[in-house]
């Protein structure tokens, strides 16, 4: 397992990471999720040994590796750009990490290598291992091609193969799917998750796409502006977001955030069933996920603006009576009123997220769902 302990990284005077502490358990599929510029790639590069922290330690299986290079740490990395060597064939690209480690410079020279005692056996072992990895990734027919002759998905597989060919202590993946088209991305998502299960090694997967993180990982680290906002299973992030920002980031449909002032008894004028004891007169933010807000006979009264019909479901854009815009999700067969018409949107009180309007922190669960 890899651990970061109080890692701070500054580029010049600009701090990028503010004392990150984080542990990736052995055998887990951990995603580092965050908007661009939040420091997730820097975190990964520090794990890889391609970058050094200004402060803090990096530990790999208990050993301090803060000053160790990438190859000393024995990590494998898949780059967003794939970073394949354009002058080598697919087979040579995959074999390179093994050749670099097992051959001396003299043995690596084509021609001379064949004459060296013992090099032939090593060469055969490497080529067998390359074929094994290629078969696993469906690259058998492409081994003699150069990267320029491959499609994006094939390059992606070669990059994964190069990481897979040796037995690294940890796999680091930096947005590996972001250059693929949508259909291929879904396919590779499943393949990567299956690969992780097969190798049993820890994968650290950096992405800005919350769908990828939710779909593939058993552990998600959400980063916001150089700090860890929340760590947890995908279900935790969705059901109990720690801050308003995490709630806004997680979820296929963007959450509705409404700033309200609670009444004297901690009641909310908008949602009569919701009462927050001990918070009388406080400013809070209500988080309502569109998928929990459905057209019903009674509930929040609003006016319909427009409907995006998606087949199985429809995204309803409405405005509350005070003009606040609201997104809701209706079943595909829902018959909407005419635009501008009135409708009611119902939400179950236990589905409402409550955040402090000032700090954005989640308000304790005990205080929030007291049905009237």
């Amino acid at each position: 397992m890899i651990e970061l302990d109080g890692v701070t990284r500054r580029f010049g005077a600009t701090p990028v990471l503010h004392g990150i502490s984080l542990a990736v358990p052995e055998g887990s599929f951990t995603s580092i999720l965050g908007p661009s510029g939040c420091g997730k790639s820097t975190t990964l590069r520090i794990m890889a040994g391609l970058d050094r922290p200004n402060e803090g330690r990096v530990r790999l299986n208990g050993a301090d590796v803060t000053e160790a290079t990438a190859s000393e740490r024995n990590v494998a990395m898949v780059f967003q750009s794939y970073a394949l060597y354009p002058h080598l064939t697919v087979a040579e690209n995959i074999a390179l990490p093994l050749a670099m480690r097992q051959f001396s410079r003299l043995e690596r020279l084509a021609g001379v290598g064949r004459l060296m005692p013992g090099a032939g056996a090593k060469r055969a072992a490497i080529s067998a291992r390359v074929r094994e990895v290629a078969a696993m990734l469906g690259l058998d027919d492409l081994l003699e091609r150069k990267p320029a002759a491959l499609s994006g998905g094939q390059k992606q597989r070669v990059a994964v193969g190069r990481a897979l060919v040796r037995d690294p202590s940890i796999f680091l993946l930096d947005e590996p799917l972001s250059n693929l088209d949508a259909r291929l991305r879904v396919q590779m998502r499943a393949e990567l998750a299956a690969l992780q299960a097969r190798t049993g090694r820890a994968f650290v997967y950096v992405t800005h796409d919350q769908v990828e993180a939710m779909a593939m990982s058993d552990h998600v680290v959400v980063m916001m502006s150089g700090r860890i906002a929340q760590v947890g299973a995908p279900r935790d992030l969705y059901e109990r977001p720690a801050t308003r920002a995490v709630a806004a980031f997680i979820g296929a449909h963007p959450i509705n955030l409404l700033d309200v002032t609670l009444g004297a008894s901690g009641a909310c004028s908008l949602l009569p069933k919701l009462r927050v004891p001990g918070a009388a007169g406080a400013r809070v933010t209500l988080g309502l996920r569109p998928e929990h807000l459905v057209p019903a006979a009674a509930g929040l009264s609003a006016r319909l603006e427009r409907v995006e019909y998606l087949g199985a479901e429809a995204v309803v854009h409405a405005r509350l009576d005070d003009g606040t815009p609201l997104r809701a999700l209706a079943p595909g067969d829902w018959a909407p009123p005419a635009p501008g018409g009135a409708l009611s949107l119902a939400v179950a009180p236990e589905r409402v997220h409550l955040f402090d309007a000032e700090t954005g922190a989640r308000l304790p669960a005990a205080a929030e769902r007291v049905a009237a």
């Binding site: 890889a48 391609l50 780059f79 394949l84 060597y85 670099m100 480690r101 150069k146 002759a149 190069r162």
Partner: protein, 299 residues
């Protein structure tokens, strides 16, 4: 009268490509053809008649001691200049490229200094070299003498002069090649170096052979062609410093062509030299592109 659509498009094509094509034919292809024809005659400038003498001019160039001297001198010059002008430029470019990450100011200043010989007029620079290399009062020999080393006659020693000129040629082209290599180095994606590091290429030279050298392939090809053509047409330094001497020890193809054509007015013989030079240039360029292009663009 309205032209049909295809006729109008053809007219546009002709209008766009025609003038340049005519200029090329008039200014390049026709003169080359005339020179090729002249090379088989004994024509002299101003003469009223000429005789067809077949391959005699070519035979003279390759059998006459003076003609052969020009050919071998040019080959020696090229053989010395190409590897050193490229190797030194690559070393300097790598150094400046790495220096730029830590000391951008110093790197930029040095880059300008290395580029200076390219921007300066070679004839003026040749005069500076002449003073530096003066056998008794030149700075080079003064320094060597001060160190107790022998002081050779750089420009009048028959065995040495062509190498002295080659050194000046190297000095002159390192800066240009360095700029080309620097551009090539800047275009290498940093991801590749990081991938190489993760893959176990930890030492500098391992990264060089795994990433830098292969990725510089197209640049190296281009630099090789440029340097070779530059070296083959060496003229200014010969004309200003040695005039081909002493005793034709620094005579080169283009200088011989100038001397035969414009001093002795032997237009036929000068044309034959021109044709040899032209064929060498074309062959060199074609060979380099044919052989190397497949290997440097990685298809």
């Amino acid at each position: 009268m309205r032209l049909s659509r295809t006729a109008r498009e053809r007219a546009t094509d002709l209008w766009l490509a025609g003038p340049a094509t005519l200029a090329m034919i008039g200014l390049i292809f026709a003169p080359v053809a005339i020179v090729a024809v002249l090379s088989f005659t004994d024509y002299q400038f101003g003469a009223l008649t000429f005789r067809w003498i077949g391959w005699e001019n070519y035979a003279t160039l390759f059998t006459d001691p003076i003609g052969r001297k020009a050919v071998t001198n040019t080959l020696i010059y090229v053989a010395v200049v190409i590897p050193f002008a490229m190797g030194l430029a690559l070393v300097v470019a790598l150094g400046l490229h790495n220096l730029a990450a830590r000391f951008p100011r110093i790197s930029a200043t040095l880059r300008a200094a290395y580029f200076l010989p390219v921007a300066a007029t070679l004839v003026a620079m040749a005069l500076a070299w002449q003073m530096l290399l003066h056998p008794s009062i030149g700075l080079v020999n003064q320094t060597l003498g001060g160190l107790g080393l022998p002081a050779p006659d750089w420009l009048s020693d028959r065995g040495l002069v062509i190498y002295t000129l080659a050194a000046i040629g190297i000095w002159q082209s390192v800066g240009y090649n360095m700029v080309l290599f620097l551009a090539g180095l800047a275009a290498i994606p940093p991801d590749l170096y990081e991938a190489a590091e993760v893959d176990g290429a930890t030492k500098g030279w391992e990264r060089f052979w795994t990433v830098t050298w292969p990725m510089l392939g197209p640049t190296t090809l281009f630099v090789a062609v440029i340097t070779a053509t530059q070296a083959f047409r060496v003229f200014e330094t010969v004309a200003t410093l040695t005039r081909g001497g002493p005793a034709f020890a620094s005579d080169t193809l283009v200088y011989a062509l100038y001397r035969e054509g414009f001093e002795y007015f032997k237009a036929g013989y000068a044309s034959a030299i021109t044709m040899v030079f032209f064929v060498v240039m074309v062959a060199l360029t074609l060979a380099q592109f044919r052989v190397l292009e497949r290997r440097v663009h990685y298809r």
